[in-house]
């Protein structure tokens, strides 16, 4: 049952890492990471803060673009090139195909993010000569990876029924919304003036939307003296949240994709 998933995933990775558009995005990201230290010449502490902020931002932004571009074309390309027919005429269930494609995307993403994180660590070490800060620094890309996996699941879910271009904006929009809504929701909940109905509605939206803001944990890493309490249990919690959300999206995607006439 898992062998076809693994094969499809492996093939997807092979294809993904050869897609020129992804490689160009990756190259730009890496290039920015390398030149980032040259951008900020502030006081020692500011420099570290700004440097960390920018580098993590670059990784996150690049990963998000890669995650979306990588996944929105995945299923439509298979259909357009008719490769999906050969695969589906073999004893492969559609859910296996979808899950295989998803894991392929996530694996490719993992490879690309690992590369960027290595560049981050190397550049940071070159610049700061401070190895002690590196384990902390790596936490952010790890959480970004969960975030991007969730984003990829969103995109692959949509790709079972909308065109790539629409999907690009849909997934991108949802990423913005999912990143924005949590702090907005917080503001709403804290505000005394908000009517109860609006709060309930916000609660509803907050539950439905994938909460991408959960994974934006860069702030305490960028700024000295900040810390998330119960850090590991928080990470565990948001990871479990992400995995459940991804599972839900994949199951929903399977239901749609199974009825889809390709």
């Amino acid at each position: 049952m898992f062998k076809p998933i693994a094969s499809i995933a492996a093939t997807t990775v092979g294809e993904a890492i050869r897609r020129k558009v992804l490689l160009i995005i990756l190259l730009i990201g890496v290039l920015f990471l390398v030149v980032a230290p040259g951008l900020g010449m502030l006081s020692a502490r500011s420099e570290t803060t700004v440097l960390r902020g920018m580098m993590l931002g670059i990784i996150q932004l690049t990963s998000a673009v890669i995650a979306i571009v990588l996944t929105v074309y995945m299923i439509p390309n298979e259909i357009e090139r008719r490769t999906i027919y050969t695969i589906l005429s073999k004893p492969v269930q559609r859910w296996q195909f979808l899950v295989g494609k998803y894991f392929g995307a996530v694996s490719a993403l993992l490879m690309m993010m690992t590369l960027m994180t290595s560049v981050l660590v190397f550049t940071f070490w070159l610049q700061q000569r401070d190895a002690s800060a590196i384990p902390d620094l790596i936490k952010a890309p790890v959480m970004y990876f969960v975030q991007m996996s969730l984003l990829a699941a969103v995109a692959i879910f949509f790709s079972t029924f909308v065109s790539p271009l629409v999907n690009f904006f849909l997934s991108g929009g949802l990423y913005l919304l999912g990143s924005l809504f949590a702090p907005f929701f917080q503001t709403l909940q804290e505000s005394q003036g908000t009517p109860q109905a609006a709060k309930i509605f916000a609660q509803l939206v907050n539950t439905i939307l994938p909460n991408f803001a959960n994974y934006n944990i860069q702030n305490p890493i960028i700024n000295p003296g900040q810390q998330i309490q119960n850090e590991s249990s928080y990470y565990l919690q948001v990871t479990v949240y992400g995995v459940l959300y991804i599972a839900g999206l994949l199951v929903a995607g399977t239901i749609v994709f199974d009825r889809r006439e390709v």
């Binding site: 670059i58 960028i222 000295p224």
Partner: protein
Amino acid sequence: MSMTSGINRTPLLGAIVGCALGVFVLQNGIGTQPTGKQYESVTETLKNGNTRTVKKLKAGVATPAFQGISSSWQRDFNQGTVETQGLSPDQLLFALAGFREMIAGILWVRADSFFDSGNYDAILPIIRLVTVLDPKQIDVYATGMWHIGYNFTDEEQRSDRRYIPSALALGKEGARNNSLTYEMFFETGWMWYHKIDDDYSNAVKWFELAQERPDMIPARRNLITNAYERDGKVDKSLDTLFKLYETAGKKAKEDAAFGNKQNRDTLENKLDTTLVRMVQRGWFAGKDGRPLTGYDVNPPFDTGFSAKVTVTEARVLRFEGTWNVLPVGTRIRAVLRDADFPNAKPAGMEWDFSNDVNLDPPRDKTFMQEQLFVRNQRFNKKVDMSKDPTMYPFTSKDYVIEFYYNPRSAPPHIQDKFSWNGEGFTDKNFLNTQVREGQRVMYTSVKISKDQLLRRGDWREKVPVIKTANYLDKDGKAYNQADQVTIDLPSLRAN
């Protein structure tokens, strides 16, 4: 079955419901939210060797998995709410997408280039924006506060004190947003201690708050003892010195690093000096109710303040006067402000009146503060306000000129005579015990009109001269030139 899909959808729908339920639980939480009682303070050792105390959930009281991520995020680490004003559309987009820190970083780099070019006005909005985008960037708060408090000056390097309430508000906001670390508390205290240099109880208040945070570095901890002294709490200062010295001694024993030993030695010296001064200035004698005969602080020393302010040209004032203290080190505060300056108080203002960071201070109001440096018992200073119309707009009709001296701000060699609270200080004409509650200060003020300051109307040809009755020129005489008209500065004796 063959008509549609080949799979049975019931278990899939079940799986979705299961995932949705899990997501809901994690996002919103079920059951009761943890109360404050379920937290405990835990002191952690940080990588730099310092310790800090953070609130942690007590183990076993509540399972984090059942509290909802958004609430736990909010509790653990509030990133702050998104405010979007002042961002360009692309910056806004990035900021909304969770790249707030990156944008803050880029903006801060940009601000740095403005620092280099001296374009200070351009920096303020950026500072504001960066702190809004990333309220955890302490450096931006600290730099911004210092910048607002110190960097806006006129052509003669006098600070624009209309900005100080904003600087304090920024400091307070920074402290609120970064309450786990000492830094913004310390910075806010420093603003009171060094820049405002008057109301030391506030400096003490903020330094004490900073002191509560375990990550404060030892050298900065020592400063609170100076603040206690200036606030008149000499015993408290001594107690604190003893405690700090004890801690520093332990630390130096545990870890004989140079910094640790140096800190211990510094504290030891300071402790010695303080004890010597307390004895010399009759502090212990005064506390025991023994007569202060034989101590320098007794009898109180009359400073014999006198002053003359001449409006030499429109917006140009010459401050002259006497101060019978021979050693150098005296700075007498002179203030010229609108009579109706908002939140004004004698020789200053309610610096702390605002919680809003308002980058646009009252631009139609005038507030000039100068320190008159005394040399050979006299001061003589020209204050030219004609070159900075934005800082000194002179839009009001009536103004107040004030002279103020607080022995608490005096350097130690002068305090050896005046003591910490001005016990050895007096001025037979201008001693004031009202304007600063419980303190002996020198204070006097007089009204002056816009026409007089701008040399307009009736005062086009006449030169306004504000004088204390006891003012004598260097040659021991008191006279006016033909075109000069005297305005009396009230004094105790005159009253």
